[in-house]
């Protein structure tokens, strides 16, 4: 098929306007079932040797070719031309959040710094067994769903928090952290990684995710980083790390919905930062005044929804599910 690949390019060494991002269109003729990467390679080989991109395995395992295709992050080698072409055009841009080095190549330094920040290696507290650790297949299969991460950066590219707050550990590093917090071989004799859960509960960690779900959409390997972040939140609260805004926010949210069937927007922020936390509460005052001026202040008297009993019945059925499969019965730890 004939298709136009519209590439966002940039050359930091150029002395003209190509130093800034610009669009260039490449018409290519390519098989229907070819990938976007095939098209880019064809351009690089036949049209323009100055086009820079990273790519290697062509089979979605090396993680080199994450980029934005029609505005959303994905692997070029896993995206079939036919499935994304719109009116004969496919737009290709470098991954987001990370700074562009040239054309489709971005600087991954911040990505790897975040990975290293979560101590990304197994930390077993006791003595290693002589043979292998005895753990359940289910526990390993569950972890393999996370270790399937190929560190391509698609989730980081499209993370709406990182876009505005570069201090956030971000979806890839937190999914990596979960790979340890959920590993029965990591941490203490019960497989609880107390130290990790404490660190991850700090600002820039698990509670900074806004649950926008973009990372789940972007991940080409089904790792679902956001779901892993939510799972760490549960582990952290279970481990007793509930004395922070995030955990209190969750509690207040749950309590409000469970009690009245809807969110008490006035008390939610107060309970989140802590009733006695005067400095933080003072920070909310300007917001409160602006809301009041525009008539958007939530009612002081929070009312139940009609038929709240029905909501409570549903609520009671949604008890939190147990966290990831843990150590099996015949574990050496337990």
């Amino acid at each position: 098929m004939d298709v136009t690949i519209r590439v966002k390019r940039q050359d930091p060494e150029a002395e003209d306007e190509r130093r800034l991002p610009y669009w260039e269109e490449f018409p290519v003729t390519i098989a229907d079932n070819a990938t976007v990467l095939d098209a880019l390679i064809q351009i690089r080989e036949d049209n323009d040797g100055t086009l820079s991109l990273r790519c290697s395995c062509r089979s979605a395992i090396c993680g080199s070719c994450a980029m934005r295709i029609n505005g959303h992050a994905g692997l070029a080698c896993k995206t079939i031309v036919n499935s994304v072409v719109q009116d004969g055009v496919i737009t290709v841009e470098p991954a987001g959040v990370m700074p562009v080095m040239k054309d489709l190549v971005v600087n991954f330094d911040m990505f790897w710094e975040k990975i290293e920040a979560v101590d990304p290696y197994l930390k077993h507290m006791g003595r290693e067994p002589e043979g292998e650790y005895i753990v359940s297949n289910d526990a390993m299969l569950h972890l393999s769903g996370v270790t399937a991460c190929i560190m391509c950066g698609a989730c980081v590219s499209d993370c709406t928090v990182l876009e505005v707050d570069p201090t956030f550990l971000g979806p890839a590093a937190l999914a990596k952290a979960y790979r340890f917090t959920a590993d029965p071989r990591d941490g203490d004799a019960e497989g609880v990684s107390m130290e990790r859960l404490w660190a991850l509960s700090e600002p820039t960690g698990i509670w900074d995710c806004t649950r926008c779900n973009e990372c789940v959409q972007a991940c080409p390997k089904g790792v679902a980083p956001m779901d892993r972040i939510m799972a760490i939140r549960e582990q952290a609260i279970q481990a007793g790390y509930d004395n922070n805004n995030g955990a209190r926010h969750t509690d207040a949210f749950t309590e409000s919905v469970g009690h009245s069937g809807r969110l008490d927007e006035l008390r939610l922020p107060i309970k989140s930062v802590g009733m006695m936390n005067l400095p933080a509460l003072m920070d909310y005052m300007p917001v409160a005044f602006r809301a009041m001026r525009r008539g958007k202040m939530p009612p002081i008297m929070h009312k139940n929804v009609d038929n709240v009993e029905a909501v409570r019945r549903i609520f009671n059925r949604t008890q939190p599910e147990p966290a990831a499969p843990q150590v099996s019965n015949n574990s050496p730890f337990g």
Binding site: V105, P120, L141
Partner: protein, 562 residues
């Protein structure tokens, strides 16, 4: 970047072998660095899908059985002392990886689970779904982070520097900045992987271009058994992407166009799980005989059931859906033999030492030799971690008693800078690297593939001669410094042409059929004349040939049947 870069041990290549070597050298107290043209987790070790072999004694397995299967798989060309080292060490190396955190699949008791693999009489392949290589590679990278090894990521080595008759360091291009550097080193360990991309198509990643083999060959090193090129039996129609042997290990069938399981004609006992050279030849025979469809036969997983496929073969199912539009749960997928691995490589001893002092090699770029004429599936991951570790250990020991070779770094840097600048300054009208690379790949795949004969190999040697002339004028269109992959690809092509020469010359030289080398004009194995390694070194007019004996310890060569 500070100049005066120097390290006791410098590892080139950060796949499994490279990282394992670096971690071992660092643990042995050496100032160690690792240099790689891609970030370590982008390395091609990722692509190993099916698993890693080990005979665990507490499971009633025996390393000698593993050794025998490996030797028979090698068609008796593997060196038995090296194979003994690998198979004895396998269990401990496997458990090490598990302790580091690899999420191996388990059995019902929570112990490491196994699957069957080709050419082996019992199931001793340990695995993580169908992405074992990726799982191992990422865990090894975790350990590398922990180890304190210095990393030069996205640096491309352009020359191995030898002074005073021993390793002195390397020249390397920082791909991000375009700056050239010289790194001094007492020892250099090459773990640069194979050279699959000089065949087209190939299962190999685009980065697999024989860099280390080329660098060592040009510095006077020995390449050995280069004619032994493995065609994997199940590569996807079209793109040539790998479909793991794990599929057959879990029970998948190979069928011709009429649905017949043709392997019963070729390997009545092992059927689909005969060794790879045998299965690939069978498929190609069927395809050539008109029993295929569009140059392919079928891999049928439909009887395995959805649950098993989703648990153990999910990645290759995805690949089939993405790249061939076929879901293996419901329908057979079209596959054919495709270039996959090279058994040959840089000749080393069991410590990883090459014939160049202070220069080591491990992993696919090396030839210890444990794979001989044909590698068993799931022995490659094992090869990387066992011999990577040994090379790292040995190098760390060596550097305690030697100093840095004395040489003028600035002069070496100026020499290399001139060479690269000359490439950049060439007129733009020559053939680009891509067209030369493609013509090389076509020629190799046509004549130095599953079935070979003298006429074909001679034709390819002629092609390679012409391609080298075209290469001498290869232009680099990108003149910039930042991430100039155009320049990197042009440099890689030089290594590839060197490797291609040695493969074709080796294939022409070996006038018999053994393992992956099948000569239609010499269809029998001939132990009397050819039970030896073919060694290639760089000469004036091309590769010079010599030979080395095969080390035989306990297992006498016998007829090979599956």
């Amino acid at each position: 970047m500070p100049e005066d870069l120097q390290h006791d041990v410098l590892v080139v290549g950060a796949g499994l072998a490279g990282m394992r070597a670096a971690i071992a050298a660092r643990a042995g107290g050496a100032n160690t660095a690792i240099i790689s043209k891609v970030h370590p987790v982008r390395s091609h070790s990722n692509a190993a899908q099916g698993g890693i072999n080990a005979a665990l004694l507490d499971r009633g397995d025996d390393w000698e059985d593993h050794a025998y299967d490996t030797i028979k798989g090698s068609d008796f060309l593997g060196d038995q002392d090296a194979i003994e080292v690998m198979c004895r060490q396998a269990g401990a190396s496997l458990i090490d990886m598990e302790h580091m955190g690899v999420t191996f699949n388990r059995d019902d008791e929570g112990r490491l689970g196994t699957r069957a693999f080709g050419g082996q009489r019992r199931a001793r392949t340990f695995f993580v779904g169908d992405f074992t290589g990726q799982a191992l590679l990422h865990v090894m990278f975790e350990q590398l982070i922990k180890s304190g090894v210095q990393r030069y990521e996205e640096w491309f080595v352009t020359a191995l520097i030898m002074e005073e008759g021993r390793a002195a360091g390397v020249a390397a291009l920082d791909i991000r900045t375009g700056d050239l550097h010289v790194i001094r080193a007492k020892t250099v360990i090459f773990c640069t992987g194979g050279c699959g991309r000089l065949f087209e198509p190939s299962t190999n990643a685009l980065i697999v271009t024989g860099d280390g083999m080329g660098l060592i060959y040009n510095a006077g090193g020995q390449l050995m058994d280069m004619e032994m090129v493995q065609y994997h039996p199940t590569t996807l129609a079209g793109s040539g992407v790998l479909i793991s042997e794990a599929a057959r290990g879990e029970g998948a069938y190979l069928r011709d166009k009429d649905g017949n399981r043709f392997m019963e004609k070729y390997a009545p006992n092992m059927m689909e799980l005969a060794s790879r050279d045998v299965v690939s030849r069978a498929e190609q025979t069927e395809i050539n005989g008109g029993n295929g469809v569009d140059g392919c036969v079928y891999l049928d997983c439909t009887h395995l059931g959805e649950a098993l496929i989703l648990e153990k073969l999910s990645q290759i199912r995805e690949i089939g859906i993405d790249l061939a539009g076929a879901d293996m749960i419901r329908e057979p997928i079209p596959i054919r033999p495709g270039m996959h691995y090279i058994m040959g490589g840089i000749k080393t001893d069991i410590e990883g030492r090459t014939n160049l002092e202070g220069v080591y090699a491990a992993g696919e770029c090396a030839n210890v030799s444990v794979h001989g004429g044909n590698r068993l599936g799931a022995n490659s991951l094992l090869d990387t971690i066992v011999f990577g570790e040994r090379a790292g250990n040995h190098a760390a020991e060596l550097v305690r008693n030697v100093g840095f070779a004395d040489f003028d770094v600035n002069m070496a840097l100026a020499r290399e800078t001139r060479r690269i600048q000359e490439m950049l300054d060439r007129p733009e009208n020559g053939d680009r690297w891509a067209s030369i690379r493609k013509d090389m790949g076509d020629s190799m795949n046509r004549n130095v593939a599953v079935f070979r004969n003298e006429e074909g190999i001679q034709e390819t040697l002629g092609d390679l001669h012409d391609l080298r002339r075209r290469y001498e004028n290869v232009p680099v269109h990108n003149k910039g410094k930042t991430f100039n992959t155009d320049l990197v690809f042009a440099l890689e092509l030089g290594y590839m042409l060197d490797c291609a020469d040695t493969i074709a010359v080796g294939a022409l030289e070996r006038k018999e059929s053994r393992g992956a080398q099948f000569r239609v004009d010499y269809p029998q194995r001939n132990d009397e004349e050819w039970l030896h390694h073919i060694v290639l070194t760089r000469g004036e007019g091309g590769p010079e040939i010599s030979e080395l004996p095969v080390t035989i310890t306990n297992w006498t060569p016998e007829e090979r049947k599956y």
